[in-house]
Symmetry: C2
Subunit: 268 residues, 2 copies
């Protein structure tokens, strides 16, 4: 359904944010706040994009930011040797393209993973509004800052950790992002393949598969990727935090070693 009604009208009035289609968007506000009203003047929402379509490609001139209103988008880069590396996943409420503001071109590809509704924010039009509407400026700054912080956290989590820990970090991260959007933090519907998740986490696809199995055997989750239910998120979180202190007692126990922790209850 094409929602366009004119040059910029674009969006119907709905209780949820017309800019992002969901609640936790940077630009969201429950009421008709100034920044949303302002922004709505320039955001354009096109028809849904389907899996495999690109919002933009690396190298193409930077023109707009994008809000994900529905669906899933991945950003990725292709290395010299032709491998694709996933840089991040974007869910409803996320802004895509923030890393391009500082330059003249996009630095990554942005590719739809799961049928997505996307809002286009022409940056040239956004910029003057930022000065006029301080609240809008503040929102953008916050969004960017938070992305930097998230980036730091992710790097910390991924660097120098075991595959198991990275995987746990990935699951927890996804769970929390879903939760922040009002979705279930335990019943994950993942739009990405195991290979893509692995690429994001720096793991070989085979390793991801093995980890799914291991975690399943531990009773920590059920399903296998696509549909994934986190049964003991406390345990997973504990692994992610590397809090696997071996319960004192007979150390060297085979079973404990297999578990890698011997955790069971929710984490502290």
């Amino acid at each position: 359904m094409d929602t366009r009604q004119g040059r910029d009208a674009v969006v119907e009035f709905r209780p949820d944010c017309p800019l992002c289609g969901s609640s936790p968007c940077v630009f969201h506000c429950r009421d008709e706040c100034t920044e949303a009203r302002t922004l709505r003047r320039i955001v354009e929402v096109g028809r849904p994009m389907v899996r495999g379509q690109y919002l933009y490609h690396a190298g193409s001139p930077f023109a707009a930011l994008y809000t994900v209103r529905a669906g899933t988008v991945k950003t990725c880069a292709v290395t010299e040797d032709g491998e694709e590396r996933v840089i991040g996943f974007s869910f409803p409420g996320d802004i895509v393209g923030l890393d391009a503001i500082g330059g003249s071109t996009y630095l990554t590809d942005a590719c739809v993973l799961e049928t997505a509704s996307v809002g286009v924010i022409p940056f040239a039009r956004l910029q003057p509004l930022l000065s006029e509407v301080p609240a809008l400026q503040h929102r953008l700054l916050q969004a960017m800052s938070r992305q930097i912080a998230a980036e730091h956290e992710m790097r910390l989590a991924l660097l120098k950790r075991t595959a198991e820990e990275r995987f746990a970090v990935g699951l927890v991260s996804l769970s929390e992002r879903f939760a922040g959007r009002g979705l279930s933090p335990t019943a994950l519907r993942l739009a990405m393949s195991q290979a893509e998740l692995g690429s994001y986490l720096g793991l070989a696809p085979e390793t991801v598969s093995r980890l799914f199995r291991r975690f399943r055997e531990q009773g920590w989750l059920d399903g296998t990727g696509r549909e994934c239910e986190l049964l003991d998120i406390g345990a997973i979180r504990a692994v992610a935090r590397r809090q696997r202190r071996v319960p004192s007692g007979s150390s060297g126990d085979e079973a404990l070693r297999a578990v890698g922790a011997g955790r069971s209850g929710g984490g502290s």
Copy 2:
């Protein structure tokens, strides 16, 4: 030297940017542009800070951004198990604390590695100026965007690569950052220990030491950390890009093995 002259005056007029003490600062401009003049009203430069002093700690309330005018600052976090993980290094011209804007507290520690001159930008005072002076706002957005981009690039570089590649990436990155500040891209004076560099790159200190030796044996660099001269930055860059060029000539099994798989020992 205390450069304070009053509540906010703070800085002498010098050809180089009084805000950052060097050229490539986001807020720098060669002439007396509006944004610098504006910013100068609120930036406070204190006396130099020495190694080990902290600009801020993780958890303390966010109040200001910092510009590094001289010296080196590292940002780091301490994991639950007490290990310190280096998140980044900041050199003259860099802004520190951008990841805290989105929250109410700092998320990392910021610690002086090498006697540093630091400018304090109270965020509450900066914010209104951003709307008044669009150019200033633009600079800040660019700085943040670039940081996100750099973060992405670093993650790409570090994730799923060999220790050798990570190390090379680290060296190249440092070299380029120095070069961007008008310093020699080959004669590196590193303020961080091998352990810190390793922490940043996700490598064990021992591994860093071994890599220094390996690279030295290759004739790619000289020195050992602290003072480090890059002799063949092309080769290092090639390793960083995973493009290790085959030494033309004997394309025998040795060479191929070295190219395709791990290192052997000898080389060009």
